[in-house]
Structure formats: C-alpha cells, structure tokens
Symmetry: C2
Subunit: 346 residues, 2 copies
C-alpha cells in the first residue's frame, strides 16, 4: 500500500487538511508550501486510497437518473438489467438510481422524462438518446448545471456527454459481411434488411457491411436494401416482396439476407414461407434468434453486450460523482461477438 496523507503531512511538517487541499486543488495554500507538498507527493509516489475516499464520499448521497426506452423491448430490457445490477452495486457509495422507462422513440417523451428527473434533483444522467437538437441542447444545459450525462447504446456526436458506452456499429456490419464471405461463393446475391435509413447506427452497420463485402473481392451483388421500422409485420411484408421480386428475374435469387436491426422474426417467417433456402445473418440475440440459429435458419448473429451498455454508464457516473474520477476515454466500445450454434452452450 502506498504512503498515506498523514505521513506526507508529517514529512512536510504540515497538517493532513493542507495536504488534502493541494491533492484536491481546493486552493488556499501558500505557494511555497504547495510546491513542497507536491514534491514530497511525487517523490513518494502517493496514490490516494480509493476505499477510504469512497467511504467518506458516500455520505454525500447522490442520485443518478436513467432514461431508457425499454418498455416492450427485449434489447433495451437487457441494457436495463445492467443498469439495475450496477445500481445495486453502487448502493454502498451512497448512490441511488431512479429509472424512467419509456416505450418507443418519441422525442417529446424523452425530453419530458429528462426534465422530470431534473426536477427530482438528479446529480447525473444515463440516457439512451434520441438523435435530436433538443436532446443535444438539454445535455449541454445539464452539463452547464454540473449534471453529467453518459449515453447508453448510441452516441450523439456533437453532444456534451461525459462519455458513451456503445458498440461500434460499423465494425458489427463488417463482421456480418465477413461471415457472409465465409458461407457464400463468389457472385452470390445478397440483400439487406434494416430498421430505418434515418437511424445513424443502422446506416453505419450498412456501410460496414458494404465496405467489407466490397473489399473482399467476392463480387457479391447487393440486390436490395429495405426498411422495416424494426417491426415484424412490416419486416414480413418487405422480405416477402423482396424475395418475390428477385424470383421474377431469372438468376436473381437471393442467397443471403443481412438483418441489420430488429424485425428478424417477421423476416425469417417470410423466408420460410418462400420455400427458398436463403441464409440469414442477424444482429443481437433475442430468444427467437437463438432458436433460429439452432435450427439453422440463421447462420450467425452479431452481438453487442447490451448488459454492459447499461452497467458501465452507471459505474462511470458513480466514479465521476463520488470519486471525481473521469472516464479514461469518452467513447467506450462494447464487444461485438459472433455467435453461432454452440456459443450458447452452458
């Protein structure tokens, strides 16, 4: 264990309070004394004991607000599980979390939820953000007031967030393409189904997918890109139509569909109904997807650690609020795992 404040104080012939002042930049220390203390500090390689610090800091209770659109959404429910586990974990630090669960992607509702939490006196915010100017402005405003925001699952580039925990969507698209290259022969026909071409994350995945396909030199033909609004019914219709169209023109049969967002269940049903053997690669790991993989209907799925996307933001905020430790990086990427049949063993 490293040297203690008390010992430093003795070495400098001063008091612990004064050492604490320079350590935490609280000012009110004479310039000579400060430089002397700093010298001894570095000389003895002082490192604060975080356990002791946490114990005293935990007296100042703090409140973290969480806004998450997890109602009726499996993916975000998993993010929420991470949030809650972290919330349990940080109780000892005097941190409480207060969760506002939303359904869907309404900008108004998100804004309302944030303002509501602000009224309740939150000291920090964890948010699955809607991409909008009002949300960007709100984050900046909160920062101004000393309330840091950590984004979960998706970033807003220009925003004043303290940090973001999300996967690298471009990479996840590329990984899907890598798999496609492994399972398809040159010249195969590939289609893309995504949620919305307005969604930045979805676009990045498509870009990654296309780039990696391109670079592979496998000469795949990208037959079509369709949107399903993350909705299974729309997904069914869109995929059904897509397959039918392709079947009309001879030699344009689709060999593989990359599902870059939700709506997998509807899409897979459309494939089954078509009677054709079309391979599929998906994102994330809902229960259905796991079954499809076991049944061979889905070749592989690319995951993004939703639990971590909830857990880490709470820990980052706690470290910042309680221990005054800033995140090492502002942008934290969760892993993109490739999961296939036996990945779900045990």
């Amino acid at each position: 264990m490293s040297i203690t404040i008390k010992e430093i104080a003795e070495l400098c012939g001063t008091s612990r309070g004064t050492v604490d002042r320079v350590l935490n930049g609280r000012g009110n220390v004479s310039i000579e004394l400060e430089s002397k203390i700093r010298e001894v500090l570095t000389q003895h390689n002082y490192e604060p004991n975080t356990t002791a610090r946490a114990l005293v800091k935990s007296q100042k209770k703090c409140l973290i607000g969480v806004v998450i659109n997890s109602v009726g959404n499996h993916f975000y429910s998993e993010v929420l599980r991470g949030v809650e586990a972290a919330g349990k974990h940080v109780e000892n630090y005097g941190v409480r979390i207060i969760i506002s669960e939303l359904k869907g992607y309404s900008e108004d509702e998100q804004m309302n939820a944030i303002c509501e939490l602000e009224k309740q006196g939150i000291d920090g915010l964890a948010l699955t953000p809607i991409y909008s100017d009002r949300v960007i402005d709100k984050i900046a405003e909160l920062k101004e007031k000393g309330i840091p925001t950590v984004l979960m699952n998706a970033d807003i580039d220009g925003s004043e967030r303290l940090a973001v925990v999300a996967s690298n969507n471009y990479r996840s698209g590329r990984l899907a393409a890598n798999i496609a290259c492994l399972v398809l022969s040159a010249g195969s026909h590939v289609a893309i189904v995504t949620g919305s071409l307005q969604n930045l994350g979805h676009i990045k995945r498509i870009n990654g997918f296309r780039d990696a396909i391109e670079e592979s030199g496998k000469q795949f033909e990208l037959t079509s890109i369709v949107e399903n609004d993350d909705d299974d019914d729309k997904s069914y219709q869109a995929v059904k139509q897509m397959i039918e169209e392709a079947s009309k023109s001879e030699g344009h049969r689709i060999d593989l569909i990359y599902f870059g967002a939700a709506g997998v269940v509807g899409g897979i049903r459309a494939i089954s109904d078509s009677g054709q053997t079309i391979k599929a690669i998906t994102m994330d790991e809902g229960e259905e997807v796991k079954e499809y993989i076991q049944d061979g209907l889905v070749v592989a799925t690319i995951t993004q650690q939703p639990y971590e996307q909830g857990y880490q933001p709470i820990m980052l905020l706690t470290n910042y609020l309680v221990l005054n430790i800033k995140p090492e990086k502002a942008k934290i990427h969760t892993m993109n795992e490739i999961k296939i049949k036996d990945s779900f063993l045990e």
Copy 2:
C-alpha cells in the same frame, strides 16, 4: 444505503462490538441477545458496508503467491498481464502478490515453486496447474493450513481448489466445428492437429470438435489426428507429412485442419509450402494468428480470454482473504469468442 451496525446496536440496546460478534459468528454472545440481534438484522435487511469493511481489513496485509508457466509463452504472458493488473487493483486492500514465473511444464519445478512461496508466508495461491497427484495433494495440504488455491486456465477435477477460472474446452472444440460446418461442403476431409493427447484440455477440445461434426450430419471424414507437443518445428513436420500422405491416395485431399492448441505457425507454414488450399481454424490469438486471419490463411480462431483467467483469480482470492466472501461458483468459465477478420478492428 442500508442500516448500519451502530443503528442496529441502538435498536437492540447493545454495543456495536456485540452486533459485530453475531454478524461474524465470533461467538461469546448470550443466546437471547443473539436471537434478538438476528431478528432486528433481518427485519431491517442489514447488509454490511463492504467499503468500510475493506478499509479496516486492509490493515492486515496479505500475500498472494502466483505460480505461472509464462516464460517464453505468449498465451500465459497474457494471463500474467491479467494477474498483474489485478495485483495493482488490490493494493488498496493491503494485498500484495508475489509471482513465480516458470518455463515449460515440469512437475518438479511447479512443486518447488509452490513450496518456496509457502515458505515466504503466502495467504493464498493462484496456479496454472500441472495435472499430477503431487500437485493435488499439495493443494489439499495448503487448504488444510488455511491457504486457499485458485486455479488459472485449467482445472484439476478432484482437487480441493477454492475455485477455477478457465474456458470450457469442450465448447471451444464445438465452436471450431461449427465454423468448419459453415465453410465446408458435405463430405469434406478434415484433420486435427493438437498439442498432446495426454493433455486433458486438448482432449476435451477434440471431443467437442468431433461431437459437433458428428451431430451436424455433414458427413465429414476425419482423416487424422496428430500431436505436435505445442512445438512449431514438430508441427511443421507433422502437418507436412499429413498432407503428403493424404495426397497419395486419390480423393483424400485435406480440406481443413483444426489446430486445437499451439504450434500454429509451423502448421500454417507447412500448409503454405504444400501449395494446396487447405483451410485452417485455430485456438487463441497470437500476433501471427491475427496476421494469418487477415491474409485468409486462417478462417477463424476461437479465443478464451486469457487476461480474465489471470485477473479474476486474484480478485476471487482477495475477496475471500480480505472480505471473507466465497466465490459464487467454484467453476468460472471465461468466454469463447469466435474471431475473424474484422474482430480485431479498433
């Protein structure tokens, strides 16, 4: 934050010391008082503040010994990195680690290293174990003396270890087979290269690989299994010979080789030299393997989180020694990730 010992004591009309006694089963409390305290405890859902406990417990310095065969071995060096990071992390808890680095898999040297650490007064041991009766007995003996052992990377089934952190070798073999099934057509010829058929982990991987191939119904032919003692030169020779043999008999060309252990570099060189296009699936992620994957010489590699295999054992021992918290499970599996081209991005 939950109720505190002090408050409990007040509610029971007793002192903090006495509450502490029942909390930690130190005895010396009258039966009536104890039951009263217990009642209030559960009634108020008391949970100890681990931060405070850690602070006082950190006064009793403790020493964790580490025996690891990481000399000249990339994989175990990564395990060691995890050990060292954890060691840094637990300094605040008054824990110091002392590392004995070994080269190779000598039972004698491992026994000597353990005994040496014991003499130095370790309170716990983290070990990459050799599978031997002497080691098993030693672990039991240490336990008897109150020194817990956590195994790293590999388990010894009958041993009295507190816990083990290792990957599921059977699963990793199955995953390799899953990939093989994706990239090969029915009836393909597959060979296996492993380190040693004496090594339990290697055997489990082969079993997993075979079982999953079998269950796939892809009718692969398993042409041969060869050992390379984890040595690149032996690996080169073995693979070279294997390919030549197969080439002799018409129609027995090898389509894919599963490298279930080390010696990948030699093996891949033999494949290149043969001029044949033989696919390869490997274990772990040395620098060379990453390059092979980029070059298309290796289709995919199955990893097992060596860093975690070092990090977690130190944390488990610390929690046990300092906070008296037992591992939730004795057998902790690290993830088996499937890594391909773009898995190494960013």
